[in-house]
Structure formats: C-alpha cells, structure tokens
Symmetry: C2
Subunit: 354 residues, 2 copies
DNA sequence: CCGGGTGCGGCAAGCGCTTGCGCTAGGGTT
DNA sequence: AACCCTAGCGCAAGCGCTTGCCGCACCCGG
C-alpha cells in the first residue's frame, strides 16, 4: 500500500504533525529531526497525497484550461505553453475542449471549477452577457477575449491587419474579400472592425463573406463564393479557412499568389508547409498562454480586488508565398499608391522563408 | 461560501449521511425524503466537492494523458478523442506533454499518478526496460506501443506499409528511401521492420536515412540527403517529416509527385492541405484514444488480474497527390509488375480528394 | 400475540493532510 | 536567582464526503 505521513511518523517515532512540517514547511522543525524524517521519507518512497492536501488547504495545484477545439492548429501551441509554464510552477492542467459549442463552455467551466484553483478560458465563444458567470465560478483569466473586470490577455489585431491591407494595397489590390469567422466570435468582430477601418483608410473595397466555422472545410466552401465576388485578394478569419480556400482554388487551377492573393490569420505551423506558403498574420498564442498562467497564479495568492490586469499582445504580418501582385497589373502611379503614404503605422511586415 | 452536505442536512432537518445517500445513492433512501433533499440541494446550488469525495472513496474521476508533443498534429486528434470519451463518462483529463523527452515521461507519470485514477501513455519514448515502472504507478494503458502484460492499444503498420510499397512498385519505383523517426522509437522500429519485409518481398531496394525528430524541420534537413540518395520515392516516418521534405524539395524546384514521390505516415489533417496533397498512411489516432479510455475505465472497476487486453488497429494507405510514376518511366512488363502479383494482402488503397 | 424481516435513517469512523494552539525545556536577560 | 522568550514538538480539530453498522418502526406470517 501507499505510505502515509502516519507511517513515517511511526517509523521515526515522532508525531505526524512534525513529519508534515518537516516535509512541507522545513524550517519550522529542528534541522536534525528534519534530516532524519526526510531521509526516512525518501527511503520509504513517500509521496504526498495531493488529494488529501488539497482538501486540507483548499488548493488543488491544478488549473483548468478550456479551449474551443484542440484540433484547430491555433490552439495546440497555446495548450503546450500553458502546460509548460504551469508545470514549472508545480501545477497540473486539466484540459477541456468544447468542440466550438458556446453553450458547453459554462457547463464545462462549472464542473471544472470545483476541482481546480482557477480557469483559463481561451477564445471563449460565450455571448457577452453571460461572461460574467465565469468570474463567479472561480478565478479566471480570459485569453483572446476582453472581459469587463476580469484579467484578460487579448490580442490586438489592428497592427497586423493594417499591415496586411498595406501589403495588399502596395501589390495593387483594390477589392479585397474578408471571410468572416463564427457568427458570434469576439475575435471576428475585432478583426472585422480593424479591417474595415484599414480598408476605409486606404480606400479599398471590402467584400464580406461568411460566417464560416474555423475549419478547413469551410474554406473549401468559401472558395467558390470568393471567385464569384471578383475580389483579387482575400483575408480569411484564420489559417484553417485560408488553407481550405487555397486547396480549393488550386483545384480550380487558380494559382494562389498570382491569380489571387490569400492571407490567413494565426500564423499556425501549417503556414510554412502549405503550398504556396501562406502569408499570415502572426498571433502570439504561446506567449498568451504563458502569460495567462502567470497572471492566474499571481491572482491566486494575491489579495483579490486589485485591478484585473489586461495585457495586450501585438500581431504582425508574415509575408510568404500566397500573396502577390494583383492580376490586372497596372502601372503603379502616385495616385494608386497614394493612400499608402498617408498611413501612420510604419510597415513592420517581415519576409520569412517562402 | 460554498454549500456543503451539512448545510443541506441542516436545511432539511435530516442527517448528513441521508443527504449524501439521497444524492449519490438514491435508492437507498425513501422517495419522499429523496425528492425533498434533491430539491433543496438544487435550490441551494449544491455541487458535490470532487476533492472531498475523491479522498473518501479513493477515486478522483480524473485520468492522466501523457503525450510526447501536443504541437505535433498527430496528437491533437487523439487528445480530443480521449477528452470527448472521458467527458461522456464524467471523467476529466489531466494533460501532460513531455516535449519528446523520454526521461520526463516517468517523472510526469509519477507526479500525475497521485492525482488520477489511471494513466494513458501515448507513444511513450521510454526505453523498453523501464516501461514496467509505469505499471507499478497506476492503472495504465499504452497507446501506440505494446507493453508486456499491460493493456496496449497498438497500431499495426504492416498493412498500410505493404500497401504503400505495392503502390510505389506499381508506379515503377524500385529504389525507395525511408526516413527514420527518433532513434529509440518503438513505432519507428515497427515501421522499419514492416517496410523491410515489404521491400524484400517486392525486391525493392531500401535506403535508410535518419534518425530524424518528428518535426517539419527535420524533413527539411532530410531533403538534401534524399536527393543525394538517388531514390525515386521516399516514405517518411511521419507526416511532419514528409511535409518538411516536400517543402524543401519544392524549393529545389523538384516537383513532388512527378520527379519524386513522397509518402507520409499518420494521415494528419495537414495531408489534405499540403501541396501537393500528401499520400499518407492513415493511422486511426482518434479511435485509439477513445478505445484507450474505454479500456482504462473498464480496467478500473474490474477485478484486476484479468488478462491485459491488447487491441490492434489497422492502417491503410490514402493516396493523394504526392505519389506518381517513377521518373525514369519504362514500360510495365509482366516482369516488373511480377512481384506485385505474389502479394497476399489485397490492395485496399483508397483514393481520396487529391 | 409474538418473532423476525425489511426499509430508512443516524452515528461515527475514517480518507491523508494541514495548522492553530499549548506545552516543555533551554538559554538569555536583568 | 527569578523571569521571560523562543525554538521545537505534539494534540487535535478540522477539510467535505462516503459507508459500515446499528437502531428503530413497521409489517408480515405463524
């Protein structure tokens, strides 16, 4: 059977509480006895029972992580980062996937909240007005969604999107298409808003399609609509959609990067190996995950009621092979490039392996 | 504060134990009182405290899942399947990623084992002789690795690999290259063995390269070696490597599917969106995950010491765009196709969207 | 009319750990 | 020499739940 504190106490002919202290609060006990106890504990192969400890101290050493879809390549890096960061702080991660069902999020959170110290909600799809309920449940930090009064780590799409539009404008595109993400997605709203603004600024015509689920299949579906739209460039809600789109366009013998330009969002690992490689807006998911853990853990042993931190991460365009000059190539005149010159945000677009 | 059984007992003017029973063992208590208690519990918003329960019954309702690398697209579908299946049985999943470090696996397992009812080890990299230690720790089922005396759900590569070789032979390839996976990978050994056998059977020359880590970058690295090898077709340890390989070959202006054929293993979601789409051996990861949960949970409340089940899942070749006729195309004579005719395993290769 | 079921409910002993409090003995202070 | 302080340790009360066991009514058959 498993060795308990009591076993060790017996072996050491001391009291259970001394053993407990020797192991978990070492300087409350005489160095000699401490050594002895620790040695015996090691010899007996003692490992503290986290369940019992949790019950006693009211802390589990586990945090819950809820994501919409593990299979979406945007999330694994986040999960991994959370995992890694938590692990380094002796914290385990309870994972839940809601399969993109907004309604399940609260349910999962409710269940998890009882067995974890805190929750990290990544890209929650729950409608605005019910978001507050999460906060009641347990300490929670939101990733990729700003929530009033709760710590949120959000991603500012505007830089990346502005860069994307600049990039397209510079390439001569004047009519671009946006493939919307899920209907009530907060990210989608933000991206769309940023895009509208950038398009207005550069006098680019914006055509909206969708909503689409963030899945390859949706992109495939979108492809035909895109072709009908007459746009020369398209920005997709995420890489998944962009990839599906590209695959389908290729089937139609359209050469992406020449006949039509495609930009994704997320800069997921797949961007590099797709063909052509996918120009994408880099979203720092891993950083977000790591920061989320830090904030959550800090929040746990802080006197609550200090201001909920909101950290904002930046995005940037990563140019690869899927974007190129607009097909009806015309001479670049001062007039056509004019809008660009008015831009305030400096182009930080970077070119990577393509 | 949180409502406990005691609170409800007080409210109902009954004893704590009756409340407990009414809630978790309903037919041990009179229907009337039961109803009343359940109603009050609901009204008071009671939720049983899983920690306390776990301490009392010695079961946590949590299982541990250890995978080598969440970022490898082979794993998310498995994780997701485990998640989903466990969820349906009121079980949560504690996830750990070992970053491909074999040595960490035992360590993580040891820690997790204290707070879970059982463990699922996916594609463990731990060397053979230490595998037994996992079994001591907790009920465990292995996925994608056969372990003596422990429930294992393994994937039989031979069918898929035989199909792959047949496929290549039919296309006229006579000299194929295998990119080995990690040095001490069990899967790699199996794949390699199956491949050797198939190649011998069809008198195909087999060139081995590697080992390589299962990452895109490794495939990029492999590309140059492959070109030097003079092989007309290559089978990679996994899709990641295959994708990196293809990307690099494309950079060198080699047209995959025409100048050289590439086959991956895993049939990960990326196979469909790569260019060209990747011919790959389908590995039923999701099924494996689901079955693993079933077996583990069954194992938990079975009289142990009944035989450790070993379930074997099959693989099959999914043909897409990355394979084509060998470049030095010659007439297919009876002689050159001869070896194929001797094959016992019927070709179940399926052609999907490519 | 009485013995023995049977159906319900309560008591209390845990599960393994933490921690406030009190006791003791030794050393320092004045 | 009387006093206080402190370091070190033990006692015991929980944390919230489960569950074996016992007692009590009540009902049945004999």
């Amino acid at each position: 059977m498993r060795v308990t504190l009591a076993d060790i106490a017996k072996a050491c002919e001391t009291s259970l509480s001394t053993v407990s202290r020797a192991l978990s609060d070492p300087d409350k006990v005489n160095p000699q006895t401490r050594e002895r106890i620790q040695r015996v504990a090691r010899e007996m192969g003692y490992m503290t029972n986290p369940i019992a400890r949790a019950l006693a101290v009211g802390r589990t050493g586990v945090i819950g992580l809820i994501v919409p879809d593990i299979a979406n390549p945007f999330f694994p890096p986040i999960i991994k980062a959370v995992q890694a960061r938590a692990g380094r702080k002796d914290t385990a991660v309870l994972l839940a996937d809601t399969d993109e069902h907004a309604a399940d999020e609260l349910e999962r959170a409710r269940v998890l909240s009882k067995q974890v110290d805190g929750l990290i909600m990544v890209s929650p799809r729950t409608p605005e007005d019910r978001l507050a309920e999460f906060v009641q449940l347990a300490p929670v930090v939101f990733v990729n969604r700003q929530v009033e009064g709760a710590p949120s780590i959000i991603i500012d799409n505007s830089d990346g999107i502005t860069q994307a539009v600049q990039h397209l404008v510079a390439l001569g595109h004047r009519r671009i298409c946006y493939l919307n993400g899920p209907r009530r997605s907060w990210s989608n709203d933000r991206r769309r808003a940023a895009l509208k603004e950038a398009c207005a600024k550069y006098s680019v015509e914006l055509i909206e399609l969708g909503p689409f689920e963030p899945q390859v299949q949706a992109g495939v579906h979108a492809a035909d609509l895109v072709q009908a739209s007459g746009a020369t460039a398209v920005i997709a809600y995420d890489d998944q959609i962009a990839l599906g789109l590209m695959a389908r366009l290729a089937e139609h013998r359209l050469q992406v990067g020449r006949d039509i330009s495609v930009i994704g969002i997320d800069d997921s690992p797949m961007s590099d190996v797709a063909y052509p490689t996918l120009t994408s807006i880099h979203v720092p998911g891993a950083e977000a995950g790591a920061v989320a853990v830090d904030i959550l853990l800090a929040q746990l042993d802080a006197d609550d009621a200090d201001p909920a931190p909101v950290v904002q991460l930046e995005t940037r365009l990563v140019i690869r092979g899927s974007t190129g000059p607009a097909p009806t190539q015309r001479l670049v005149t001062t007039e056509s490039i004019g809008p660009l010159l008015g831009g305030e945000i400096p182009s930080r677009a970077t070119r990577r392996t393509d």
